[in-house]
């Protein structure tokens, strides 16, 4: 039959296509991760890579389901990606750009941090209302600390002795003693506290209050709120300002704050505790990443599916590039 003659080349073509696709993928995945801003996209199950020089998207890495928070390992050789829907962290080697393992993080993990020695991982498990503790060597869950409903932000003190956890529902920061794994103190902060950042000397812990439209500054010695920094954006109401992620400038003088639905990033003077600049970004500006020399701030815009790159010296947006569906967090490796 004449059909047959046509079928064979078609089959070969498909096979060739499959083989070449496989090769392309393999090549893309063995690329070392450097000179890139890595952006987690909640709805793509992938990380978008933005070249830090050209500011263009140069590739993607497939990862676990619903990737959100990311950070580098303590030795700086691996990227850890927490995935909400898979309940896992994907461990990606920066040298190869490939996944080298997975760590079970429990139900609906959100934000995590590592002990300073890199041995323990602390993760907020939103659905169980727990702070999970995971041994990085054995990848086993060592235990958990019960905290208020919907824990979110997690940060370990620089000396590793305390873990701070926000509870979105209880509007509190729980101070957990790392040695006893007990709550040492509950600190009332603003409404729906989300994320943390330390001041340069670790003396202050900044907490973003998403519905409070403010930041609570906690003195880490007395464990009391010493200052609340409100936000105002001209032409917007307080209800439209929902701060989430924060990053400290390399010189420690400025805290960058993603103002969420106010679509701006605030530059807050850390000494004066006041906003000195507002930079227009995309819709729902939340996740922030800073490059090594601190000159470029990468802002994930959760509702406009893009990333805005800001020149920090001039407080001006340079470019906005598309970056997957619902970008969440940014880590810059350069």
């Amino acid at each position: 039959m004449s059909h047959r003659k046509h079928l064979v080349p078609a089959c070969l073509l498909i096979m060739a296509a499959l083989v070449s696709a496989g090769v392309d993928q393999a090549q893309a995945q063995t690329q070392p991760l450097s000179g890139v801003a890595i952006v987690s996209s909640e709805k793509d199950d992938a990380l978008a890579l933005i070249d830090t020089r050209s500011l263009a998207v140069t590739g993607t890495i497939t990862t676990c389901k619903r990737p959100r928070h990311m950070r580098l390992s303590v030795d700086g050789k691996q990227l850890l990606v927490a995935c909400g829907d898979s309940g896992q962290a994907d461990v990606i080697s920066l040298a190869t750009g490939q996944s080298v393992g997975r760590i079970a993080l429990g139900d609906d993990p959100e934000i995590f941090d590592l002990s300073p020695d890199g041995k323990l991982l602390y993760v907020s498990n939103e659905e169980d209302g727990e702070l999970g503790i995971i041994d990085m060597a054995t990848k086993k869950r060592l235990g958990a600390v019960a905290v208020g409903a919907e824990p979110e932000g997690v940060i370990v003190s620089p000396d590793g002795k305390r873990i701070y956890v926000t509870s979105e529902v209880a509007s509190m920061v729980h101070v957990v003693d790392a040695a006893t794994r007990k709550i040492e103190k509950n600190i009332a902060v603003g409404k729906r506290p989300r994320r943390f950042a330390f001041s340069a000397n670790g003396g202050e812990l900044w907490v973003s209050n998403e519905l409070g439209a403010s930041i609570s500054v906690i003195d880490t010695r007395t464990l009391a709120v010493t200052k609340t920094i409100p936000f105002e954006v001209k032409g917007m109401r307080a209800d439209d300002i929902s701060p989430v992620d924060m990053k400290l400038s390399r010189d420690g003088q400025t805290m960058y704050v993603g103002l969420g639905r106010a679509n701006h990033v605030a530059f807050v003077d850390t000494a004066q505790k006041s906003t000195r600049a507002l930079v227009l970004s995309g819709k729902r500006a939340w996740g922030l990443g800073l490059n090594r020399d601190g000159s470029r701030l990468f802002v994930a815009n959760g509702l406009s599916d893009d990333v805005t790159i800001i020149d920090t010296a001039s407080a001006k947006a340079l470019k906005t590039v598309p970056a997957g569906r619902v970008p969440h967090s940014v880590v810059v490796v350069d």
Binding site: E126, G129, V169, A170, L211, R237
Partner: protein, 396 residues
């Protein structure tokens, strides 16, 4: 039970009784927490919760008892309550009429309840609210008449009927589906709700193509009322959308995909506006929905959201101002987190909770209201429902 059988039971029950007594005595010693009591008034033989009706899951109808959402709110606040050294308890009272409701409310208030959640028919609530000495939170009646009582101690977390129709009207406006064919059911409730729809149509500059009464009937002599083909034909009333008002739900369910002309259906079927949708994906909503599913073994509805939110309001107010929760509730900076991405607060004029509404077809969330582009001089959430200038109530 007569005396003899009681004494006969005693020896067997004694150890258990003693254990119970010991537990009761031990409790106040173990936790030196002060009591914080919340009341919940529900109706006896709630016909909305009849098993066969709940099974059908008509949009906008309750999916189960309010108590489930109230308990969930208490559970998730346990941590804050512990920190404030408070022990919250819930007393649910089932009442059969307004008189019983009034008596129960008095007893709860005298018993030290900081506030009472109410899931009662609007008529009963209207009778008991003016004399209430503690804050009441209406979690079950959408009637706008309750929002016009101007009773300063009566709060509402369930969106009013007007809020829900305003939300739909905004969506129609944003889609430019301006000509509305209104199908209206036979009950008094349908008539009242259809009037609210007409007010929203007017407010948002939509056009009422026609209002047609319908009846659930297969009787060929009444086919003008019962035949959907006739009811939804243009017949001189060109329309872009069919808005069905059906408090009962059975008729409305038959309208989508069966209209004479290919037109979307909104109102009590098709696209509906709700306080909550279990498949809402934004603002941490999935966590709340999953928490409820785990606790109640069913999806969270708008009524559940209102009961949960009402409980959170009372608890937050009691923690903020233990002496006068009412003062806390009415403070200008009193803000609730409803997991809908905005700050929710009570309107000063009629104590209705400001909130975005979710537009849903039951499968997913299609959008939310206020829709983008709608503006308001003070708070865009006040574009849903009766705004201050239209309300008979003055800000208090």
């Amino acid at each position: 039970m007569d005396g003899r059988s009681l004494s006969g039971m005693l020896p067997a029950a004694l150890p258990a009784l003693l254990a119970l007594l010991a537990a009761t005595l031990a409790l106040p010693l173990a936790a030196t927490a002060a009591p914080l009591k919340i009341g919940l008034l529900v109706r006896a033989d709630d016909e909305r919760l009849a098993a066969r009706l709940v099974e059908r899951g008509y949009p906008g109808h309750p999916g189960g008892p309010a108590e489930q959402a109230v308990k969930m709110a208490l559970d998730e606040t346990r941590f804050e309550l512990d920190a404030a050294k408070l022990e919250a308890t819930l007393e649910t009272v089932t009442v059969a009429d307004a008189a019983q409701a009034r008596a129960a409310l008095q007893r709860l208030a005298q018993g030290g309840a900081v506030g009472v959640l109410v899931d009662l028919p609007a008529a009963w609530l209207a009778q008991i609210a003016p004399a209430a000495s503690v804050p009441l939170v209406n979690v079950g009646a959408a009637d706008d008449s309750l929002r016009a009582l101007c009773t300063p101690q009566l709060f509402h977390t369930l969106p009013s009927e007007r809020m829900r129709v305003d939300a739909l009207a905004q969506h129609l406006l944003s889609r430019r589906w301006q000509r509305v064919l209104l199908l209206q059911g036979p009950s008094a409730s349908d008539a009242a709700r259809a009037a609210v729809v007409q007010a929203a149509i007017k407010r948002y500059g939509l056009k009422l193509a026609a209002t047609r009464p319908y009846k659930l009937s297969g009787d060929p002599r009444e086919r003008e009322l019962g035949n959907l083909q006739l009811l939804t034909a243009a017949r001189g009333a060109e329309h872009d959308v069919v808005w069905v008002v059906d408090s009962d739900g059975e008729f409305a369910r038959t309208v989508p995909y069966r209209t004479a002309l290919p037109r979307p259906v909104v109102g009590d079927a098709g696209l509906t506006a709700q306080a909550w949708a279990p498949n809402f994906e934004r603002f941490g909503a999935p966590q709340l929905s999953r928490r409820f599913k785990r606790a109640a073994q069913r999806p969270m509805t708008g009524h559940d959201w209102a009961a949960w939110m009402g409980t959170k309001a009372l608890l937050q107010a009691a923690m903020a101002n233990p002496k006068s929760p009412l003062t806390a509730l009415t403070a200008t900076d009193f803000v609730l987190d409803g997991f809908k991405g905005t700050r929710n607060s009570f309107r000063a004029w009629n104590r209705q909770l400001r909130q975005p509404l979710l537009l849903t077809d039951g499968l997913g969330v299609i959008g939310s209201a206020p829709v983008e582009g709608v503006l308001h001089p003070k708070n865009v959430l006040d574009t849903l429902g009766v705004d201050a200038p239209e309300s008979p109530c003055k800000p208090k």
